[in-house]
């Protein structure tokens, strides 16, 4: 019975994720997956081994309440943090289950079961602290810049080797819960120290990697408890995290190693602007936009930071009301997580067929009257295309510089996350409109209306 419920849940999870391949079926798919979860949890609650429902009910009520509150009240712009945080929760559950399992059955665990359980606790604890660190950096509780010191990579490697040594020791002394706890403690430290030298904007890659670790930990739990559904769900999770981090690295033209050990984004605050730029008045920008036939809006992290998505759409509507055509060019790593800009624009009610992916956007940009850049920087940096010495070189970018005119909304002349000068701003047909994106857009909307 319970076995059938788990099998059914596994199938529903797969079908649910498969439906995410198509935006029109996605919502139905997620409901399938949620139904699968209900089946799995329901089946478990009927398990004859359960002696008392008190603590289960309490846990469910507390967790469910917190989860629901987070889901309902959190602004969409806080999604990256939320996801990082929840990996910590998931991994925490895995670690606690693993430790308790060991406490109860230390003597009776088979060799393979023990190996799986150890992996579960090690990966889980690393994920808990790593995810909390990522959360702190994304939430800006900690400075986003990489925190480095000499010999750091060596120190981290030593620590990692030490935790692995404890893992081996555990295999040799299967009954020692002390070893298990020590390993968990070291795992927590490794998680913290590994994330320290990674810059704030590389956090999404880290978060996705931790996601795949959490998935592996869940699969290991499945091995340890002989529960196939956990293996399936863990493998799905692991694959998802791995693919997304791979896609991000590829879109940034960087290797995993560079992200994890490169302390990228270190120089963010160091270099100052050394280019001469041209600023434009609000009035002129409004006129330019109002009379443009084809406008492409390029959103970036700044749009998320300023929560400007609604204002973006209002401006687009004004332009469209005057007969102009507005489209959005979404770079795969614009913002701070995969699909970040898509969600924000969707939240503002922009229909998704207006969004152009990289290739199509670059095919259309040369025939565009105005490219309006809303808080994007690195993803439109032409140095990535042209300047071999640039750290961005080779990263595929949006060719906003090929539009007939460019208007950039940002607050200052500071560089973007990569800490690299952007020669785009110095181009003769590029004009800056400095200020918070949301405020500037609000003013632009008001002006365009009066024209």
């Amino acid at each position: 019975m319970i076995g059938a419920a788990y099998l059914m849940a596994s199938v529903l999870f797969i079908l649910g994720l498969q439906a995410l391949g198509d935006a029109r079926r996605a919502r139905r798919g997620i409901r399938l997956a949620a139904f699968g979860m209900l089946v799995a949890v329901g089946g478990t609650l009927l398990h004859p081994q359960i002696a008392s429902y008190l603590w289960i009910a309490l846990g469910l009520a507390v967790g469910g309440g917190i989860g629901a509150a987070m889901a309902i009240y959190l602004p969409m712009t806080a999604m990256p943090q939320r996801i990082a945080l929840s990996h910590a929760f998931g991994a925490l559950a895995a670690v606690l289950v693993g430790i308790a399992e060991h406490l109860q059955r230390a003597g009776q665990l088979g060799r393979l079961e023990l190996a799986a359980l150890g992996l579960e606790v090690l990966l889980g604890s690393l994920t808990v602290s790593g995810s909390l660190m990522a959360f702190a950096k994304l939430q800006e509780l900690l400075p986003g810049a990489p925190i480095t010191y000499p010999g750091q990579n060596l120190a981290n490697l030593t620590l990692f080797a030490a935790s692995f040594a404890l893992y081996v020791a555990l295999m040799l002394h299967p009954a020692s819960t002390g070893l298990l706890l020590a390993m968990a403690a070291l795992g927590l430290m490794v998680g913290v120290l590994m994330v320290l030298p990674i810059g704030g904007a590389d956090m999404p890659v880290v978060v996705s990697l931790l996601n795949s670790y959490a998935g592996l930990a869940a699969a290991a739990t499945g091995f340890a408890l002989d529960n196939q559904m956990l293996i399936v769900a863990g493998a799905l999770d692991g694959a998802s995290g791995f693919i997304l981090s791979l896609l991000m690295c590829r879109a940034m033209n960087r290797s995993f190693a560079n992200v994890l050990f490169g302390a990228f984004g270190q120089t963010a605050a160091a270099t100052g602007p050394a280019v001469t730029v041209r600023c434009v008045t609000l009035e002129d920008a409004a006129v330019q936009l109002a009379f443009a036939r084809r406008v492409v809006i390029v959103p970036g992290y700044g749009m998320a930071a300023a929560q400007a998505q609604q204002a973006v759409r209002e401006l687009a509507e004004q332009i469209e009301a005057r007969g102009g055509e507005v489209r959005y060019a979404v770079h795969p790593v614009a913002g701070r997580m995969p699909g970040h800009m898509n969600v924000l624009l969707a939240e503002a009610g922009v229909p998704y067929e207006r969004l152009l992916e990289l290739e199509r956007a670059n095919a259309e940009l040369p025939d565009t009257d105005v490219a309006l850049i809303v808080g994007a920087n690195d993803v439109v940096n032409p140095a990535a295309r042209e300047d071999r010495s640039s750290p961005l070189y080779g990263m595929p970018i949006l060719d906003a510089d090929r539009a007939r005119a460019i208007i950039v909304l940002k607050r200052s002349l500071k560089p973007g996350f990569a800490g690299v000068e952007n020669p785009l701003f110095a181009l003769p047909h590029c004009a800056l409109l400095l200020g918070d994106a949301r405020e500037t857009l609000g003013q632009l909307v008001a002006r365009v209306k009066t024209l």
């Binding site: 979860m37 359960i50 603590w55 889901a71 408890l225 999770d237 692991g238 998802s240 995290g241 009610g349």
Partner: protein, 88 residues
């Protein structure tokens, strides 16, 4: 051995399914896999309700809470996001 087959096949399925998800839906995807990873709730429930003594029960109750944050929060927020994606 069977378990290894299951893991490898599930990995393939995951790879093939996820690779087809368009960039448009990558954030909902992250939230959804997050919710699914809350499946460790199943193990946590057996622990919290198993009556194995104070420490395991306490650990279990915390685990249940942590996992159900993911399950409830994950599915709700994914649905909330997907609701926003307007049909063309």
């Amino acid at each position: 051995m069977e378990t290894l087959y299951i893991f490898i096949l599930a990995g393939f399925v995951g790879w093939l399914v996820i690779a087809r998800v368009p960039a448009l839906l990558h954030t909902p995807l992250m939230a959804a896999t997050n919710a699914i990873s809350g499946i460790s709730l199943v193990g946590s429930i057996l622990l919290a309700g198993g009556g194995h003594g104070a420490v395991p029960t306490a650990l279990g109750a915390v685990a249940v809470a942590a996992a159900s944050i993911n399950v409830v929060g994950g599915f709700l927020i994914t649905d909330r996001m997907l609701k926003m994606f307007r049909r063309p």
